[in-house]
Symmetry: C2
Subunit: 464 residues, 2 copies
């Protein structure tokens, strides 16, 4: 047992110790980072080991890994393992109610976001961490933290045994409803906290593969059925199936979850508003109850650190999923925290202080971006005027690839800070709006005319 | 014991029962309302009986009772008892740093807000409730609620005995950090909640009476020492003393609490920025530690009712104290809930539903008004331009007493809904701004000219 280690790891030679509460995506990745920095890590996880359960790919929500996620994974050499289970989606395929399909690329050639199953990526990260200097303790519920001391207490959910752990630093990566945050931060004076639910919930649906294992929809797209106030989306799984998610208000609208009270109503609803999806899955009503109806919240808080404890990932900044950035932002927390460890030579008070100052505005921004993108996905993507803005944006980006990035690209294909992306993105949209208005541009405008306007415009004001 | 009563009250003949959690201001008043409606009420209070402790008037924060408060008290005949311990304050006296005094009336002749001690009013309300059909159980901490069942569980803090109570309806009036809200509401899905601390804290100071028992400052004013980013205020007590409160940032400013780290620094601070106050109280530094430094938060949540339980007062809408409306708004919750009981013939699901729909926007508005009025009190009251707006407002109100009310009057001297007052008040300020600008009005403008402009203006657009 190493000098600084308080755990019973017979072979441990470490002198630096860290405790992580929660073995989810961010906790597992952060353990690998800490191992790289020479820390012995103990992760305590409330749930049982998901690798020993039979979780099929389509049964858990899918995630889209983008640039920030890959950067964080590659930094510790975990990217290639995850690439093996990731499916590139280079654009959106929109399914209009009449059955017309429209493809919108996410970025330039070669740029894509990647569909991965939460269970798949989480399991791989746990495997990698355990192969280094991390010990994961399952079925351990956090029942107390003493942040000033770096202490955390856990109760085993199977045998009731209580364990108190002390280490140099403690990281709470236990998600949106973090027990560590509640037991620690929330009891300090002047801790700001808000949980705000949006009016919409979601329900997952598994669209199975064809009998020969092939995909029922184009595999390399994120599919969207935009319907104004609600939408259905589908992300590909490795086995030929798609994980589909219906986002819709709980109540108070023509179409809402609380009106779908019988199999017949579910059947009629899909037949009416998602006819081409219904054709692929005529037994939708039978499947309806297989996944629960879930709610969606934005959780903000501050400060994110206190004494020897820091919040990371959803525990600090849980968001609604509409920009596909929840995991990517949590992974970027790891990149940033690690850079600060090096900058401040592991002087933790200095690391924690700068971490929360840098990351809090970005946590807020990723939440604002997520809310904003729900409008884009469910409504604006189908709007000809918005499509014209996107067309001109892509053209500017094509002509000035190093100087101009559309908002979606800044968020998904760069690591420009979220707060900067949000601000610049909104400024850029306003500028293109005025370009369109001033020059009366339409979808019929000549490419030549648009290019000339873009060149004049970019000479005058470089937006970035 | 009455048919619907689950408590051991030997003389009770009631058939309707209610449980109130918290015997503070709102809980005690609401009990009197429920008694009037024929309910037997049991209040469970975590603290001991304040009437048996020796709490002197000046030791607890003072409150200002205004129109809504009196209306709610008078509705159940409690107003006259409270008037005996209330001191009218008909305006603000501003103390400039040079020692100049300026008096600003709050409203028209005869209008005032009233200084009362929290302990004084609370004790009276408990006495009145107990003289009716209310039983107050002290030292009873709420440890659980089952909202659907109307059940609440308490543990006696002296002997550990646990009591489970069931009644037709349960009201949580246990304040900003409501245990009932946490144990009930906060565990339901889609409960929106936020606690946001402002950057400022407060510390109370007791300015004693002269040796002959007389007041050291004008008794019929609320005194303000406005200093831009911070302020000191003083409210009169019955015994000749004043309860003073310093509101100031915790840190990050030229003047802030975290810099006042020694008696010497406290002494120098008061001498420098509150010289006329310092003359009245040269031993300020000795007294400094007698009251704690406290924080200030806005707490918002929704829904306010679930099953058989409703939140009232601070448990639903705790605010910062700068409009003096926290208690008044909580008391108005009682007026509104009682009116709805009559409207819906005590059909509680209908009462609760309309209660939260009506009161939530007003709870939000009183919080917005409170934040806005901090700026007014600490800074704008001393600004000549703001004073000109106020002067013209008072004149419009004088000429059109039934058609125009300044914001302060709408909030303090009417029961116009808070949300309406907030909206109208801001619209009116903008209109007067434009009147001043358009006609180049100054403090030197002739009254005659101002009156003519007001008449023309009021003929054109009646703001209310």
């Amino acid at each position: 047992m190493g000098a600084g280690c308080n755990n019973n790891c017979p072979t441990c030679k470490c002198t630096k110790t860290a405790t992580i509460i929660g073995a989810g995506l961010v906790g597992s990745l952060w353990a690998i980072y800490l191992n790289k920095a020479g820390y012995h890590v103990d992760i305590y996880e409330r749930r049982s080991d998901m690798r020993k359960e039979n979780i099929s790919a389509g049964k858990s929500i899918n995630l889209a890994t983008s640039y920030r996620g890959w950067k964080a994974l590659d930094e510790v050499g975990a990217g290639d393992e995850i690439r093996k289970i990731a499916i590139p989606m280079s654009g959106r395929t929109l399914h209009q109610i009449e059955g017309d399909l429209q493809y919108q690329p996410y970025g330039n050639a070669g740029q894509a976001i990647y569909s991965v199953s939460r269970g798949g990526i989480n399991s791989k990260l746990m495997d990698i961490a355990e192969a280094k200097d991390t010990h994961i303790h399952f079925n351990e519920e956090c029942i107390g933290v003493e942040m000033a001391e770096g202490k955390a207490t856990f109760r085993n959910t199977l045998n009731g045994v209580v364990t108190e752990v002390k280490s140099e630093v403690v990281f709470a990566t236990d998600g949106a409803f973090s027990a560590a945050r509640y037991l620690g931060m929330q009891k300090t004076d002047r801790f700001n906290y808000s949980q705000l639910y949006i009016a919409d919930g979601y329900r997952e649906i598994l669209l199975p593969a064809n009998e020969d294992g092939s995909y029922k929809l184009d595999k390399e797209s994120l599919h969207i059925w935009p319907r104004g106030r609600f939408m259905l989306i589908a992300l590909p799984n490795l086995d030929g199936s798609f994980t589909c998610t219906l986002f819709m208000p709980f109540d108070g609208h023509t179409y809402c979850f609380n009106k779908l009270t019988s199999k017949e109503k579910v059947n009629d609803f899909f037949k009416e508003v998602f006819p081409n999806f219904y054709e692929l899955m005529p037994d939708i009503a039978e499947q309806w109850e297989q996944h629960p109806l879930s709610s969606l919240a934005i959780i903000r808080c501050y400060p994110w650190t206190h004494g020897k404890m820091a919040l990371m990932g959803d525990a600090a900044h849980a968001t609604v999923p509409f920009f596909g950035q929840g995991m990517n932002c949590g992974f970027e927390d790891c990149t940033v925290m690690y850079e600060l460890m090096q900058k401040h030579k592991e002087n933790w008070p200095a690391v924690f202080d700068e971490y929360q100052q840098i990351r809090k505005p970005n946590g807020d921004a990723v939440q604002d971006l997520s809310l904003q993108n729900y409008l884009v996905m469910r409504d604006k993507v189908g709007d000809p005027h918005f499509q014209l803005i996107q067309k001109i944006e892509r053209r500017i980006n094509y002509l000035y690839p190093d100087q101009y990035f559309p908002l979606y690209s800044m968020v998904s294909f760069t690591n420009i800070e979220y707060k900067t992306a949000l601000q610049k993105g909104n400024e850029q949209e306003a500028m293109i709006e005025s370009l369109i208005k001033k020059n009366k541009l339409t979808h019929e405008s000549e490419l030549n005319e648009i290019d000339n306007l873009i060149h004049a415009f970019m000479k005058k004001e470089l937006p970035i």
